[in-house]
Symmetry: C2
Subunit: 296 residues, 2 copies
Amino acid sequence: MSNVHWIAADWGTTNLRLWAMRGADVVHHRSSSQGMGGLVPAEFAPVLARETADWREGDWAAAPVVACGMVGSRQGWTEAPYATAPTQAGTPLAQVAGANVWIACGVKQIDPADVMRGEETQIAGLLAARPDFDGVICLPGTHTKWVRVSAGEICSFQSFMTGEIFALLADHSVLRHSVQAATFDMAAFDAAVQDALAQPHRAYGRLFQLRAGALVGELPPEVARATLSGLLIGWELAGAKPYWLGQEVALLGSPSLSMLYGRALQAQGVLVSEADVQAATLAGLHRAWKIIGGAA
Amino acid sequence: MSNVHWIAADWGTTNLRLWAMRGADVVHHRSSSQGMGGLVPAEFAPVLARETADWREGDWAAAPVVACGMVGSRQGWTEAPYATAPTQAGTPLAQVAGANVWIACGVKQIDPADVMRGEETQIAGLLAARPDFDGVICLPGTHTKWVRVSAGEICSFQSFMTGEIFALLADHSVLRHSVQAATFDMAAFDAAVQDALAQPHRAYGRLFQLRAGALVGELPPEVARATLSGLLIGWELAGAKPYWLGQEVALLGSPSLSMLYGRALQAQGVLVSEADVQAATLAGLHRAWKIIGGAA
């Protein structure tokens, strides 16, 4: 049996991303919307078999699968128990019973209570490229994480619900009538970040104004949408200040979100770098694969 | 034609409440879930006819209908244009074309932009009972309103999305797994109000902890639910401080919500009174009915 062929899986709540790997090299790649959120436990094995069926010949016939993300949650395929922070960034793996499938353990923090699942693998991947990184990693997303990393360890972290709250307000609240726009007013975003960061107690009362401004004035939707985004990110920065103040921050998220966070942080004088999140995920899964005996 | 018989309607987004009135006295009452949110403009007339059909004999056969609420919005039956604050609390009425139906105009504020629709009638009703009221009225609800009232005028106001945000987070976000509880931990509510009011910038970061606390610890759902409510109300109080600080506040909302706001305000040393919101709505509609010629 080959020990340089394997399959990498980033199996989150909404998507499943798969790569057929030879060592650290990607040979095939595909994505599907069969995320953990839409599956019951008995469906994971057949979904994985179907999605990788055309790769399962020759060298990949019996290749192991190394996965990260919500597939390892209690509602997922097999619960991969949390490591407890502070902990080494390369977390342990849990094997799916009776299958050549391995899932990266998430990380929990006891006090203040917090959890991550998937981000630990991205962090391990970033550290594979920058083993001496000492500072803060910000992973913008549905639940943005701020993570202190030092000496290869995840020291402490905090999650903010900014991505999810933005989606709920923009698509499901009364604001949905006022923030549908294909463009984004960057000056309005900058101003809202600044306001919310300076006066977080006042920002809360500005939310309804995004609706009222369209009703009684002519607040353009691209301004309202950018203001909503800026208020929430500014709020988050106000709460996350102990993480970023005086630190170098590495952003690890989608380019569009990382751009917004980077812009907001740079306006506060923070030194920011951006890393490719997919490359970090693959590097983290590669590191995990070596733990279970991968050879390259 | 009798001029002491009329029909009062509180026609909001989610409910329609109707009263057959003789002067200021309620003779019949019914409620339905046929709120404005589920109706297209052509449906309002038939819904009203059907819901009042068994009242439409004798004295109420041709009685006028006086309505307030979202029925008068642009998406409602007939747009009842906003009065502009500052304005007398008894706003004008708009007649539905070709019908003996009158809708109370809402109130708008230009800067900061804000709107109310329905609350103006409740405020007018409260002032009918307390004509010398000078202070602040807080109307807790989906979009809680804080209103400065003096000399019978709505002087200025601000809306907060607390009710809607609570519902979105409790029922549609990741927190839904952690806050489903039939009971409510009042001590947790009090503590969360206090925390959010003292440090609104930190409250935002506590939201995800309500989920994480259930995953890594044993945060009981009744504590998580009360904490979520307290964080949001505390945040609102931080933003609404210019309204309540040093003022007497009259609460005009459902008893359960008014109780929470009252508790939070009293902890800040604010003098609070509570008024019956249904009585205020009826009194406000009665006042409006007199404007269109009602005789008692």
